[in-house]
Symmetry: C2
Subunit: 144 residues, 2 copies
């Protein structure tokens, strides 16, 4: 990780600040295997090079796109070890499928709730509330 001019001079506090995550998160990512064991100062302090900022940002961006840390680990391994592009693409496409499935799920929920909210006057008490009734009697939609 220290190829050319990347001296390890950042303490964990500075690193985490620059990467935009908490100190504990950095140590957690290290334990998780997402970050390599860093160099240490004589007194045992972790010392990082600037590379690590980029690596943490990579992790955060991947997470922002819906990848789990396990999946991020795979992506990082592919990057570190020069894997095949097709592997990256496959991960991406699997994630797309999952995301689409979730969107479909949520849209189904939204449709039901919207319909029910539209049917409910919001006045009076709860007997004959169409929402409560829909939940009480198995009907049209199926809430898995």
């Amino acid at each position: 990780m220290d190829t050319l001019n990347n001296p390890a001079r950042l303490t964990i506090g500075r690193l985490s600040q620059q990467a935009g995550v908490g100190i504990d998160t950095v140590r957690f990512y290290e334990r998780r295997g997402l970050l390599p064991s860093p160099a240490r100062s004589p007194s045992g302090y972790r010392l990082y090079s600037e590379d690590t900022i980029a690596r943490i940002r990579f992790i955060r961006r991947a997470k922002g796109l819906g990848f789990t840390l396990d999946e991020v680990e795979n992506l990082l391994r592919l990057q570190d070890q020069g894997g095949r592009k097709s592997a990256v693409r496959e991960l991406t496409e699997r994630k797309l499928i999952q995301i689409n499935a979730k969107i479909d799920d949520l849209q189904r929920m939204r449709n039901v709730l919207q319909k029910l909210a539209g049917e409910c006057s919001g006045k009076g008490n709860v007997d004959s509330c169409p929402i409560i009734e829909a939940l009480s009697n198995e009907d049209e939609y199926d809430g898995t």
Copy 2:
């Protein structure tokens, strides 16, 4: 819960089978306060009336629509104690807002991933893979 002819004759195994959940889930719902403490046989076995099947299905349908167990608890309380319709509607509308936010989030992710997947040939090794590069360099999109 035993208003008219609803004798408590179901053991927890039968109940859970008919309701389509695991035995442990029934006990968990009881601890959680979603199900009232059931009658007991002389030897301490829980005994349920058919009502409870409906109640568990209510819970499952509400969960299927995205309500958390805390929210389901509220809905059940409104049902049990004859709350106002407006309270039910408010819960529903708050849930709708949450669901829409989640959908937006996922759509944003999908758009980015789709674009990236489209740019990636899938051939060769990972250097110059547009997906890896997008994750490496902060760009256009912002992965929270």
